[in-house]
Subunit: 328 residues, 2 copies
C-alpha cells in the first residue's frame, strides 16, 4: 500500500469507523464482526462500476449513496436491518483527494441516515473505471426467517411498494434517449436512478409480521424480478399492467409515448420491494404500509405455470419487447 | 442481470455454494452468515485487479488462487480460521465462458484445500480490467483475542515465517527486469507471486497459545509491514539484514546483484507472517513452528523509537532505497 493510500484512509475513511464495534479503527488486516445478542446475521455484496451502474460524471455524493443503497435494498428484501459494511474501493487516476473527500463525506451522511458504519475495507488503484464493491451486514431478530424469492403460493397477491419505472425513465432521459419530460420531472427521475430508496422499514415489517411468502427488490426490472420469484417458487405470475403504480412524471411520459411501457416494466434500478402475500393478509399489508406512510399496490397474482404474463386493459396478455435491462 | 450472468452463476458458481450453510444456494439477494457456536467472527476484504495485483495473462487458476489467498493471509494474521467468502467479480468482455469455467474450477480446488465455501456474490460486466473483491469470513475460538498490529513490546523478538523476497523477485523476473535466474528458479519465484501460501496454521497456533504480541502478513514489503507493527505499537524496530531468511534462488540472485536487497526487503506479496514475541516465549514459537514443519526465523527486535532500522553485517544501519512496493 502506498503513502497516498494511507493518507486517504487516515484522512477520510478512518473517521467512518473509529470507535465502532469490531472495526479496530481500520488499523488491522481484518475486522471483528459482532453479532447482536440473539440475532442472526445476513450479508450481501454488490458492485457498482462507473459507466455501467452509474453514469460517467455522477457526483461522488451520488456514487456513495448508490453503492450503499443497492446493498441496503438487498438487506431490505430479506426483512433484515442493516448493521455495517466493508468497502472495496478501486480508484482511477482522475479520482483525486477532493473527489474522495466528497465521497467519504457522503458515506458519513448515509451512515447517519441508515444507522450503519464502516467496518473495514480495501483501497487500491485501478487502470479501469471507478469500481466499488460493498459487502453489507444486517441482522434478523431471533426466530425471524429471512424473506426469500422461493415460497410464493398459487393465489398469493403480488404487491409492489412505491412507484415503478422512474429510474429507468430517468436513465433514458440522462442518456438523451427521452426528451420533453420537463426539467423537474427529469431531475426527479434521475434522482430515483442515482439515489434509490431502500425499503428497509417495509421489509422489516413484512418479515416481523410474516406478511410475505416471497420477496425481492426490483433491480433487474419488474417483470424479470417477478420472474425470479415465480421460478424459485415453481409458479407463474400475472400482473395487470394498468395497476402498476406510476409517478405523475411517468404517467405524463407514457401519455406521449406508449412504447415507454417496455422501460417501465423492464427497466431496472427502482429498488422497490416486490412481494407476494396470501389474500387473507392483504389488509395487514395495507395497515403496515399505512403506518410507514408508504404506498403498496396489488398488481397481480401468483398462478400455476412457469411464466410472467402482463395483462393489458382488456385482460389479455401483452407481448413484452424485453424482459429486463441487462448489465451484460 | 442478464441471461449470460444467470448462466455463469447457474453453471459455474452455484455448485460452489449448493448445500453450504447460509448460502441459500445463491438463489437470493443476500445470504445468511452462520456463526460457529461459541466463536466470534472476523472479516476482511481485498481486491485484486488484472495488471495491478497480478500480471496480464495470468491463468484463471492463479487468479482464483491469489484472490482467495491474499484474504486467507489476512485471516491468518489475525489468528483465525477461515469459514466462507463472498465473491464480487467484474468481468471484461474477453473473459468468456471457458475462462470463467477454469476460474470456478480453481475456486473449487481452493475451497477444498482451505476448507471454505462460497457464501454469496455478485457478477457483473466491466469496461475495465478484470477485478475481484473477495470478502472472507473467519472465526476465533471462544476467548481467543485477535492478533493485531498494535501490542508489540520493547524487547520483543521479531520473527518471520518461511522465506522473504521470492515474490518480489519473481515479479521482477516476469516483467523482464531480472534475468539469469534460470528457468526453475524463475518458475518457483513466479509461483510464490501468483499463489502465495497463507500461514493459517501458524497464525492459529500463535493466537491459540498467545505466543505473539503483534502480527501482520507481509504484503506491502517486510520493512513497511514491520513499520505498521512499530507505528501501531508506538515503537521502533531493528532487523538484521543477513538474518532475513532467503530461498536458495534468492541467495543466488543476490550473489550476482546486491542491489536486489531493495526488492527483497521492500517488495511485497510474500504473504509470510511477521510477528513479535517476548524472548521468554521464543522456544514455544520454535516448537509450534517445528510441529507445523514451517521455518520461522528471528530477524530482529522491537525497540524504543519510531522507525525501522535495517542493520548490515557490521551492525550499522543501512539506507533503504525504497520502503516498500507501492500499489499506487
Amino acid at each position: 500500500m502506498s503513502a497516498a493510500e494511507f493518507d486517504l484512509i487516515d484522512d477520510f475513511f478512518r473517521p467512518l469507523a473509529v470507535g465502532r464495534p469490531g472495526s479496530l479503527d481500520l488499523t488491522d488486516d481484518a475486522a471483528l464482526l459482532p453479532v447482536p445478542p440473539g440475532e442472526s446475521l445476513v450479508t450481501c455484496v454488490d458492485t457498482v462500476i462507473d459507466g455501467v451502474h452509474f453514469l460517467a460524471g455522477t457526483p461522488p455524493e451520488d456514487v456513495a449513496a448508490k453503492a450503499l443503497r443497492v446493498n441496503l435494498s438487498d438487506i431490505a428484501a430479506m426483512g433484515a436491518r442493516p448493521l455495517s459494511y466493508m468497502l472495496a474501493l478501486s480508484l482511477p487516476n482522475w479520482a483525486e483527494r477532493p473527489w474522495v473527500e466528497a465521497f467519504a463525506a457522503a458515506l458519513a451522511a448515509e451512515q447517519e441516515l441508515f444507522g450503519i458504519y464502516l467496518l473495514g475495507g480495501d483501497t487500491t488503484a485501478t487502470t479501469g473505471p471507478l469500481t466499488l464493491s460493498v459487502t453489507l451486514f444486517g441482522s434478523l431478530p431471533a426466530g425471524q426467517q429471512p424473506l426469500r424469492r422461493a415460497g410464493a403460493k398459487a393465489g398469493d397477491l403480488v404487491f409492489v411498494s412505491g412507484s415503478i419505472g422512474d429510474a429507468g425513465l430517468g436513465l433514458l432521459a440522462a442518456q438523451g434517449a427521452l426528451t420533453g419530460l420537463g426539467e423537474t420531472a427529469e431531475a426527479v427521475m434521475r434522482q430515483r436512478y442515482d439515489r434509490p430508496q431502500p425499503r428497509l422499514a417495509l421489509g422489516q415489517a413484512l418479515g416481523r409480521e410474516a406478511l410475505a411468502n416471497a420477496a425481492i427488490d426490483v433491480s433487474d426490472g419488474l417483470v424479470q424480478d417477478l420472474g425470479h420469484i415465480a421460478r424459485h417458487s415453481g409458479l407463474g405470475a400475472r400482473i395487470r399492467r394498468d395497476d402498476v403504480p406510476l409517478s405523475p412524471a411517468a404517467e405524463a411520459a407514457l401519455s406521449h409515448d406508449e412504447a415507454l411501457w417496455a422501460t417501465i416494466l423492464g427497466g431496472g434500478d427502482d429498488y422497490e420491494l416486490l412481494f407476494t402475500t396470501p389474500p387473507g393478509k392483504a389488509a395487514d399489508v395495507a395497515a403496515a404500509a399505512a403506518e410507514l406512510e408508504l404506498q403498496v399496490t396489488a398488481i397481480g397474482d401468483m398462478v400455476a405455470g412457469d411464466a410472467v404474463a402482463v395483462l393489458g386493459p382488456d385482460g389479455a396478455p401483452i407481448e413484452m419487447a424485453s424482459s429486463g435491462w441487462s448489465h451484460f
